[in-house]
């Protein structure tokens, strides 16, 4: 509610000086993370940016190569929402004067003895796959990819302090869990 109120105030202020300012059409224009943040917030956003960009690469392959309409639609919707979230997270980090990249993001899990699901080799293999094999390969790999997003979200909601970043993590956990649900259904239908 606080965020909405703030956005309204900003819009009203903008209207006062420039009556033609349109309403926000991207989340990054609508939501600011102005409260305090800690190292977990920063690391989470940096890791998620790297994770999102791998994900965007994968769904854009699916938009291009998949043939089943339900999969193409899901890929396009993930592209739209994750592109917006990617910009949002970069805007927050820039506002916090933190870098938007992190050296070891994709291999953070490796510190615990295992790599996460998606690496450059997996994306390269996906690029080579064709037809029905591509759809099956994409669905399994993207299920694993979004499981990783759920795991990272839990890290943020447990140890983060910034309210907007934690709220984003909660939304990511919910939407990715439901995406996994849709994809497992497609995989076995």
């Amino acid at each position: 509610m606080k965020r909405l109120a703030l956005a309204t105030v900003l819009l009203l202020t903008a209207c006062g000086t420039a009556p033609t300012t349109p309403p926000a059409t991207t989340v990054s224009a609508a939501v600011k993370a102005s409260g305090t943040h800690n190292d977990t917030d920063t690391m989470y956003l940096q890791m998620m940016i790297a994770h999102h960009e791998q994900g965007l690469e994968m769904v854009r392959l699916a938009e291009d190569k998949a043939t089943r309409p339900d999969l193409k639609t899901l890929a396009a919707a993930v592209d739209a929402t994750q592109s917006d979230e990617d910009t949002l997270m970069k805007t927050w980090l820039t506002d916090w004067q933190e870098p938007t990249t992190v050296d070891h993001a994709p291999t953070t899990h490796a510190d615990h003895g295992g790599l996460p699901a998606t690496g450059p080799e997996e994306i390269a293999a996906l690029k080579k796959a064709k037809g029905k094999d591509f759809e099956t390969a994409f669905l399994n790999l993207f299920v694993a990819h979004q499981h990783n997003a759920v795991e990272m979200a839990t890290l943020e909601t447990t140890d983060g302090t910034n309210e907007e970043a934690k709220s984003l993590a909660t939304r990511i956990r919910q939407s990715r869990t439901d995406q996994i649900q849709q994809m497992l259904t497609m995989l076995n239908s």
Partner: protein, 263 residues
């Protein structure tokens, strides 16, 4: 036996460097197809599963167990035979697909039916691919079977467990088991009681659960929205700008302006 079509092994050099610092595993993995019991829970094909629906990859227990729940009490539903788990009709040569969310070096994969080992696939103590497939010959086990698939981790004492209910020799296309009752067509969004729905051989496709949209109806999850559709949500009207099947947390808001614009 092992078929690694799409995913190459990662560079061995990278694996070696993590060996010395191997710490308690956050390894995760499960069988996605044919759907394991935890996959059926995560897809919503089987309802009221509890926490496992959010983390199907986490059925981890010590090695050597023969239980579908890996001995994890909060996942005990996976070993509950009274749930009458739906059996997927398959041929006699079955391709099992594992989804790995953390790719730990692997001792081996084992497959059991009724406590008897059916197949072992050596992992060579190497890092698996993100998606691993195994072709297993089940021609000696026709009919309805529960396969226990085990992923034995190479550098910990633990394993990951998935049970897959099959109708072996029932054909490769989704079909009801011959001896079972008529399949239900209950869509994932309908509130199926715990005793219903499992006679269906396969979960309903996602698209079949997506109801058509009447003009300016209230937003709901699990609905197929098309660009230009209008919905009401919390007193405001929104227009869809990107076709999608709605999810929880994809409701119209300032967070989902990529999908919905306020009118």
């Amino acid at each position: 036996m092992r078929r690694s079509v799409a995913y190459p092994l990662v560079a061995l050099g990278a694996i070696g460097s993590t060996l010395a610092v191997a710490s308690p595993a956050l390894a995760h993995g499960y069988v996605s197809a044919p759907p394991s019991r935890q996959a059926l829970c995560a897809s919503g094909a089987v309802k009221d599963c509890g926490q496992i629906q959010f983390e199907p990859q986490s059925v981890e227990g010590v090695k050597g167990l023969k239980s579908c729940d890996g001995g994890v009490s909060q996942f005990s539903i996976l070993a509950d035979e009274s749930r009458n788990w739906p059996a997927k009709s398959v041929g006699t040569n079955v391709t099992f697909t594992w989804v790995m969310t953390a790719r730990h070096r692997t001792a081996d994969w084992q497959y059991f039916i009724d406590g008897k080992k059916v197949a072992t696939v050596n992992g060579n103590n190497q890092q698996p691919d993100a998606v691993v497939t195994h072709n297993i010959d089940l021609s000696a086990f026709p009919g309805k079977q529960t396969v226990l698939a085990v992923w034995n981790i190479g550098d910990t004492a633990n394993a990951f467990y998935s049970c897959i209910d099959l109708n072996v020799g029932g054909g490769s296309a989704p079909a009801p088991t011959p001896s079972a009752a008529a399949p239900t067509s209950a869509a994932p969004t309908s509130a199926a009681p715990t005793s219903a729905a499992p006679t269906s051989a396969a979960p309903a496709p996602a698209t079949s659960s997506a109801a058509p949209v009447s003009s300016s109806s209230s937003w709901a999850p699990g609905v197929s929205y098309k660009t230009g559709d209008k919905v009401k949500y919390e007193g405001k009207t929104y227009e869809c700008r990107q076709s999608h099947t709605s999810l929880s947390s994809w409701e119209p808001s300032i967070y989902t302006l990529a999908l919905w614009l306020p009118l």
